[in-house]
């Protein structure tokens, strides 16, 4: 069965410091991997995705994520955090070529960036 784990409910970081939000996954076959961000009282916004190719994926707002097949991880990173990055972040996975249309979402990680 497909699953996604976000081991940290909350990540705290000071503005200007690098940030990492962790995600590990379990899927049969090769994965499609996604990161979404949710600001208060809003829907989810797409940040970036990994389908194939370069393991380092760059996305919106200066975020990037690294696909690590051996560790089955897809951690979200940013070199220098901004207060405006404070939001809820979701990792999601789907199986390449799978019959399902579904994405499986993690439980979310709240990122708090202190000024």
């Amino acid at each position: 069965a497909q699953s996604v784990a976000q081991p940290e409910d909350q990540v705290n970081v000071a503005e200007g410091n690098p940030l990492t939000v962790k995600c590990t996954y379990s899927v049969s076959g090769n994965p499609y991997l996604f990161w979404y961000v949710q600001y208060p009282n809003r829907g989810l916004q797409f940040l970036l995705k990994y389908i194939t190719g370069d393991n380092l994926v760059k996305g919106s707002y200066g975020f990037e994520a690294e696909f690590n097949k051996s560790q089955t991880s897809f951690h979200l990173k940013k070199p220098s955090a901004l207060v405006s990055d404070s939001a809820l972040y979701f990792c999601a996975v789907s199986a390449v070529g799978g019959a399902t249309n579904k994405l499986i979402f993690g439980t979310g990680t709240l990122l708090a960036v202190q000024p």
Partner: protein
């Protein structure tokens, strides 16, 4: 830009009422989804549809039904609302299987 709209941002209903949540997308996407979001539980899939009049149950379909009569519109129906259906409801659409989903702003439903 893909636009997914939901009919209401906030709704307050009484136990036992029939509730309709509407979602419309403007990008001719094949797939549409309804999720509910609860603190600590993330997003849980209620139903999805991969074509007009086609639907499949997600992980938590009990107490819900859906309707997709037109490609751009996907409705979620709570046949008899209960207090445990108080939640944030998110609609999404995507072009193809397993691809990026685009979300609406959400409907926060309170059932009293």
């Amino acid at each position: 830009d893909v636009k997914v709209t939901q009919s209401s941002r906030y709704l307050v209903k009484r136990t036992g009422e029939k509730v309709f949540l509407e979602c419309v997308q403007d990008m001719d996407h094949e797939n549409m989804f309804w999720y509910r979001q609860d603190p600590g539980l993330g997003l849980r899939l209620i139903y999805f549809s991969y074509d007009v009049k086609m639907k499949e149950k997600g992980d938590i379909p009990e107490g819900y039904s859906v309707s997709r009569e037109k490609k751009e519109r996907f409705s979620l129906i709570l046949e008899s609302a209960s207090t445990n259906q108080t939640s944030m409801y998110l609609c999404a659409s995507s072009f193809a299987s397993g691809r990026s989903q685009y979300f609406g702003p959400g409907t926060r439903l309170l059932v009293l």
